[in-house]
Amino acid sequence: MMLDVSLTYYRYGFLGSEFLTWLWFYIVNTDRDKLFDNKNETLEIGNKIVLERKVIDAVEKVTIKGKDAGLEEGIISLKKGAVVKELNLLYRKEDKEWSFTVTGENLGVSNLRTPDIGFIESKKDVEGFVVEKIFLYASLYFLIDGLYKKFIKLRVSDGWITVVSDMNKWIIF
């Protein structure tokens, strides 16, 4: 495998921002019960969105925080040509909830809080807790990778033009 990391990291850096911008569009424009095959799964915009817009030689950064981070101010930034750099999300599956922030630049996850798994009471519990935590992290990556794959498949397809047009309508109106 030949991958020039330093070149592709910057050359295709826009993919992460486009993914998060699309994800926001996808979440708010898709019926809740159609986001997942499993009716007990939901995904919502969380409490933080960071947007960025290049203005000639400068970069304008807008951070929106709070419950229902929202969305009007964010849309105004999108109208001006900004893209999403960081997106906080809430994922629920059955009675479990994950909250986390995805950064577009590297698809890194931060401020990740998994469903509660109780307390470690003795050293013997540690291994079980590690396995449980790793399962919960892996479940989240399964979600993120699935959504990113959906985005990339669209992005490299002829249908992307229609998606851009739909996103433009969502932003403008």
């Binding site: 486009e18 109208k79 040509g81 992005r155």
Partner: protein, 204 residues
Amino acid sequence: MGLLSSSVSINRYYVEGKIEEPVLDTVKKGLVKHSFRENDDDSSNKNTGWTSFNNHFNPNFNKSSFVIDELFIFSLRIDKKSVSPKIIRKFFYIETAKRLEESGRGYLTANEKKAVKEQVTDALFLRVPAVPNIYDVVWNYEKSMLWFFSNNKSANEELEILFSASFNASLIKIFPYSEADLLLGLTDKERDHLSLLSPSKFAG
């Protein structure tokens, strides 16, 4: 930041390169060879090495203590010393004044000043205890994936360097392009299309 913390940050890596068989022994050797060694007598400001996930201050990689559920789990320890520049300036001033008095001269040359600063800095770093920073690592050998529990840039760089030195394999950071290219199972046609993409304009 630990994988059992209530709030975590994770960066993912793809492990490129074949680990020499038997894998468990190779990993153990790499961990032991580059394990963290306490060295308070060192005047350098940084000390790095692997440590045990469940015993950060006394690494022990005996048997398969770093294997949980077919995963390699260990930690990166980076100890850092820091001294305020104001303190360095103070002791530099004191030492400079002392040397001037001893020599009877009115100035120090640039080289002498540099030597004084180095000496003062080394002496101060010897006196200051290092602050330990622990970052957990989960390595899924079968999937060639590694999770690093920090998005601190310098810690990630230390990980990449130490991993390469320890296991003779490289870590490729997962970022939007590398994930699409390496992990999503795209067809050749899709990968070709991917390499030709340029930014879309949604509005503005």
